[in-house]
């Protein structure tokens, strides 16, 4: 494993598989236990440095660190020196002086975790940077797919929605490709980046054509405000062309699953009956997020398991 987890490309196939296997071991070790806690990272300090509000991701990392017995400090940009204009570098040096072993960072600017990694000695875990990557989301998605379908190699994953602005899509394309899955991106052309052709993924504008050939459909959150910048004409038209409703779900193969990184816009990219169906893994994804993040922190800070 590299010292930092900044993007999916930091993990080769062996490392990515190790993270997933470790997450499974941790889950097993904790299953049925009354005290859901391992002593592995006792005495180590993990800082959650969040420049964006993201309660669910922060809580997931916090829980992961605490279940490994690490000390956790939540450093929120709001109400801290950051909001008074402290630079990222000064914040990094402050955390460094306090002796943090790992910094989990969420930032609105692409590449901020890369910058941070230049300034701290400990490990940096990217918890989402701008429109760049969100590698632990991709790991928990891969974990969920493997758990449900029993494999990743050759699994056909269709990712639908605002690929242009999605760090989830970027990390998933990279990681799932590394793990042998076949990724197809579906979006209106306005929400695909120029240059998407260089990604290890197929691209289509026709959702209905790919659904029968999808083992996994991953719906991305689409902000209705995008229509104000003419990415699409209206929420209704978007939903009609790219939303996953019950009718479209019926076109999927029998054992196909439906994923969403949350938070969902019910009625926009995903219909309520789909989100709540047995195919939906949305709640499992949240639970798996804690196990996978425990595995990441464990491997970065504690070394490979014996």
């Amino acid at each position: 494993m590299k010292r930092h987890l900044l993007e999916a490309a930091d993990l080769d196939r062996a490392d990515a598989t190790l993270v997933l296997d470790t997450a499974a071991q941790i889950e097993q070790a904790l299953a049925g236990r009354e005290v859901k806690k391992l002593p592995t990272l006792r005495g180590r300090t993990v800082v959650n440095l969040f420049y964006e509000d993201s309660t669910r991701t922060r809580i997931s990392f916090e829980l992961a660190a605490k279940r490994l017995s690490a000390d956790v400090i939540n450093f929120s940009a709001k109400g801290s020196s950051v909001s008074k204009g402290e630079s990222l570098k000064d914040t990094a040096l402050t955390l460094e002086a306090m002796g943090s072993d790992a910094v989990v960072v969420r930032h609105g600017s692409s590449g901020a975790p890369h910058r941070l990694a230049n300034w701290v000695r400990g490990s940096v875990v990217n918890a989402g940077d701008g429109t760049h990557e969100h590698p632990t989301q991709a790991l928990l998605d891969a974990y969920t797919i493997r758990q449900r379908l029993g494999r990743l190699d050759g699994v056909r994953v269709t990712i639908v929605g605002d690929v242009l602005h999605s760090r989830v899509a970027r990390s998933n394309v990279g990681l799932l490709h590394t793990l042998g899955a076949e990724v197809t991106l579906v979006a209106p052309p306005t929400l695909l980046p120029v240059g998407v052709g260089s990604w290890p993924a197929a691209v289509t504008y026709d959702l209905d054509a790919v659904l029968p050939k999808s083992d996994v459909v991953m719906m991305l959150r689409v902000q209705a405000e995008r229509m104000n910048a003419s990415f699409f004409p209206s929420a209704r038209e978007y939903s009609r062309r790219y939303g996953l409703d019950g009718r479209r779900m019926g076109a999927l193969p029998d054992d196909a699953i439906v994923m969403h990184p949350g938070p969902m816009n019910r009625g926009m990219e995903i219909a309520a009956d789909v989100a709540d169906s047995v195919r939906s893994t949305i709640v499992e994804q949240v639970a798996n997020g804690v196990s996978v993040r425990m595995a990441v922190l464990y491997l970065l800070l504690g070394g490979a398991p014996q």
Partner: protein, 435 residues
């Protein structure tokens, strides 16, 4: 200090070695085995002599951001880069949009005395793109402004651009356009392409530059005016310029050293030292720019020297200001990218870095104060001696600029400026600024 210098054994424009006698601010003689009593001797064996370089595009930051650069520190950086004249861009604080501000900058340049600082006037009041600044007043001022630019912002309103092009004809001025359609570059961070897609940085499409250049050459043709295009960065722009020139449009263009050498691959580090506007482009663009500079489609090298304080660069990519240093490495980059590969000879370097930029800025006809003149007896003694064989690793801490945002840090480049003379007075000797 001596008033005459005998430069021994330099190769004018890379030709046969000759001695150059500099006296009373002029080139007194060029020939073999010259001698002159009382002249200080400068041993220049193996050095190439070029006319003093002229930059069409420098940001000196004064007034307003003297923490990043001053007229004096920027002038020293320019002299060390072999320049004897630099055009100081107008995006200062206050903006150089009145005779008062351009005269202030001009006067500071004269006081520093290391290069001729030629102020550029803003096209529009406050660079806001809304109404014309008093272009005539700046032209008639002591600063004698001939180049007008809103650089940093594009004069995007087509009607206003047309009027600006027309209006400056009255005093033989030129509008230097920062070609960037702002509606296509909202929030843009880097070249739009494969790398921006992967890095999650908002793309700056080549078409945003090319669309403005295409529009402006048509406007310049229509009204019979001169147009200069700043920092051309794409292969498509070179094609449009080639087409326009073939039609006889009075258009000139410059390319920066960094666009000749670096690509958008630099953005993969997310180090904002590589953030610049227009952004670093692709290998294919770099190749087209080199070809354009070689065949003359691109007239000049303009540094777009853009000093920034540490806090404006040591940040997240999106928060950092765009721009990079260029004056002290410009000639080295041209040697690396154009001379060593055989795409430009020394006469070509003199043409693209001295003669043509001086002509665009209307500096060639200023008598004693002219720039971009031939290396010939009787001409003002503005010249630079460069050792093309010398190679060195760029150390930002050693630069004369007050800022440190050099994209060439740690990179080995050829060509050392050994001496620079401004009207017969050395501003650089033995590779060091005289003051």
């Amino acid at each position: 200090m001596a008033t005459s210098y005998l430069i021994k054994g330099a190769r004018p424009l890379g030709g046969d070695p000759a001695d150059i006698l500099v006296k009373d601010g002029r080139i007194a003689a060029i020939g073999e085995s010259l001698s002159a009593t009382g002249a200080a001797v400068v041993e220049a064996g193996g050095l190439v002599a070029l006319p003093g370089l002229v930059d069409l595009h420098t940001h000196l930051r004064e007034p307003g951001r003297e923490d990043a650069e001053t007229v004096e520190t920027g002038s020293r950086a320019a002299a060390l880069g072999g320049f004897t004249a630099v055009h100081a861009m107008a995006n200062t604080d206050p903006v150089a949009d009145t005779a008062g501000v351009v005269e202030q900058v001009w006067r500071l340049g004269q006081e520093a005395g290391l290069v001729d600082v030629v102020p550029v006037g803003a096209v529009t009041v406050g660079l806001t793109g809304e109404r014309l600044a008093e272009l005539g007043a700046m032209a008639d001022s002591a600063a004698r402004v001939r180049v007008f630019s809103d650089d940093g912002s594009c004069v995007s309103d087509p009607a206003l651009m047309r009027r600006a092009l027309e209006y400056v004809k009255a005093f033989d001025g030129v509008v230097a356009q920062h070609a960037e359609e702002p509606r296509l570059t909202a929030g843009a961070q880097m070249h739009e392409g494969d790398r921006s897609a992967r890095l999650g940085l908002t793309g700056w499409p080549a078409a945003a530059e090319e669309a403005i250049i295409a529009r402006d050459v048509l406007l310049a043709e229509h009204v019979g005016a001169r147009l200069h295009v700043c920092h051309v960065s794409t292969a498509g722009s070179v094609e449009i310029l080639r087409w326009a020139k073939s039609r006889g449009v009075q258009v000139t263009a410059e390319v920066t050293p960094h666009h000749l050498l670096l690509t958008d691959a630099c953005a993969e580090s997310y180090d904002p030292v590589f953030k610049v506007n227009p952004p670093l482009r692709t290998d294919a663009d770099v190749e087209a720019l080199r070809a354009g500079l070689a065949d003359g489609t691109i007239d000049a090298v303009g540094t777009d020297h853009a000093p920034h304080a540490v806090e404006d660069k040591e940040s997240e990519w999106a928060q950092a200001r765009p721009g990079m240093l260029g004056l002290e490495q410009a000639l080295s980059v041209v040697i690396e990218t154009m001379v060593e590969p055989g795409r430009l000879d020394w006469a070509g370097v003199a043409d693209r870095m001295s003669v043509r930029p001086a002509a665009i800025g209307r500096l060639t006809g200023l008598g004693d104060r002219a720039h971009g003149r031939p290396l010939a007896p009787g001409e003002p003694a503005n010249l630079v001696l460069v050792d093309p064989a010398s190679r060195a690793v760029v150390d930002p801490a050693a630069l004369a600029s007050r800022s440190r945002n050099s994209p060439y840090a740690g990179r080995e480049l050829p060509g050392r400026v050994v001496a620079t003379f401004l009207r017969g007075v050395p501003t650089v000797l033995d590779g060091k600024a005289v003051r």
